[in-house]
Amino acid sequence: MSQSTTASSYNYAYLDEQTKRMIRRALLKAVAIPGYQVPFAGREMPMPYGWGTGGVQVTATVIGPSDTLKVIDQGSDDTTNAVSIRQFFEKTADIDTTEKTKDATVIQTRHRIPEETLTEGQILVYQVPIPEPLRFLEPRETETRKMHALEEYGLMHVKLYEDISRHGHIATTYAYPVKVNGRYVMDPSPTPKFDNPKMDNCAALQLFGAGREKRIYAIPPYTKVQSLDFEDHPFEIQSWDQDCALCGSTDSFLDEVILDDKGNRMFVCSDSDYCQSRQDGSMPSSVEHTLSQASQMQSVNSEASK
């Protein structure tokens, strides 16, 4: 056998082949049953759980030498978490990396979906801390499994409706529950609800990995993803009174940045690649087109909220 046994050697993309096969079988089941959480026997990764070990395991399982990887954390390619994961795969999987959404074949993300429309053939891998959308209603796994089996999602609607009676609107802004292909209620991971519409009918394959709870789920391309809502209180995305202070975008997700101790602040795009591309004037026209549609939708929503 031509097996290398030097102390510094490790398997391609860190995971051993048996673990990859097990995760691969789970991923195929996840794709075939959109929104259903497939249990898998996760492995310890050389990083703490909060760093997205579930997403890292999924990425390590799908990635090959011809892939180009982008890693974002809260929309940014430059945070410690994103940089560490990118370097981990540069080192263990010998792959190219990029900060450009359109150049990536695999994008691992924590808490955001890129503003630029994802395309056919791309894979978006989400790092998921808590995969079970019903967990806060029912702590027992045996019970939540039954609820999913019976499509018993009434309690979830009650929870959202309590928001309305307390706040006058649905106050849930992150991890806003969705229903996938009219069947499974799914936690979209702690992305802002602003990103929920991007999951619907998306051309890219969306894979979700939860490391601590050892669950994998998926949304195939072109799959219906509905945010739960009520006829008299339809789903709405966040909107801002300001434009991005750096690129002038009127329709991207904005982060508030504190400028000084006198309370001065500004709002900038959370998606750093998107913002930079707009400042460089290199945003493709197809994106502008999609965004103008999104902005129409958003203005309808913000009017509705008034």
């Binding site: 097996q3 490790y10 398997n11 051309a203």
Partner: protein, 208 residues
């Protein structure tokens, strides 16, 4: 960089068993990505990027799929038409899988397209709470240009797509249509011609 590849040479294998993947790590990855692509785009016929020598009753694509996904943790059932010592030895040697005569206890099942649905009536379809505990069925066919076509829609399909594996036992069409009625339980099918694969996950709606 020093990756372990666990590559086996023909000398390691000896004269009795055909070689498997040239490079088990990278070949398995590229085959998996092809299967993932197929499962994410039901009805789309995708070229199998690697040829591997396989026993006569198991074509190259079907063999590649099993080499990429099966191992000592999985059990394979072979239909009467595909069951023979060559196939069994090949799969055991390259994957470490166990083979079973019980079609109701397997992770993967292999059928020839000419065989009828009676053979696969007892494959596990999962349970309401654990629909993933189901078998994946690999159906060996010759090509994807059959006269008879099914129109597919559902997750992974932008508008509609067509499914036309050949040869296919005419009774299998009805079996596939029924399979959708058990959702979220059910069988996921991977059709494998010598050069291409095409998937039919349980989520696809089918019009014949």
């Amino acid at each position: 960089m020093d990756f372990q590849t666990n590559s086996l040479s023909t000398q390691d294998i000896g004269q009795t068993t055909l070689p498997g993947f040239d490079n088990p790590v990278f070949d398995a990855t590229v085959i998996f990505r092809t299967i993932l692509d197929a499962m994410s785009h039901p009805g789309t016929v995708i070229e199998t990027p690697i040829k591997c020598e396989s026993p006569s009753k198991l074509n190259s694509s079907a063999a590649s799929v099993l080499l990429a996904l099966a191992d000592m943790d999985t059990t394979i059932w072979l239909s009467p038409e595909t069951e023979c010592s060559n196939v069994a030895d090949y799969l055991r040697f390259h994957t470490g899988c166990s083979l079973t005569k019980n079609s109701n206890h397997c992770d993967f099942a292999v059928l020839n397209g000419t065989e009828g649905p009676d053979q696969i009536a007892n494959l596990p379809i999962g349970t309401a709470e654990n629909p993933d505990r189901s078998a994946t069925l690999i159906i060996a066919v010759d090509h994807f240009n059959a006269e008879q076509k099914a129109v597919l829609s559902g997750p992974g399909i932008k508008t509609t797509s067509e499914l036309s594996p050949s040869p296919l036992n005419s009774k299998l069409w009805g079996w596939m249509k029924d399979n959708r009625n058990y959702f979220p339980c059910g069988i996921d099918v991977i059709f494998a011609s010598p050069t291409h694969i095409c998937a039919l996950p349980r989520s696809s709606e089918m019009d014949i």
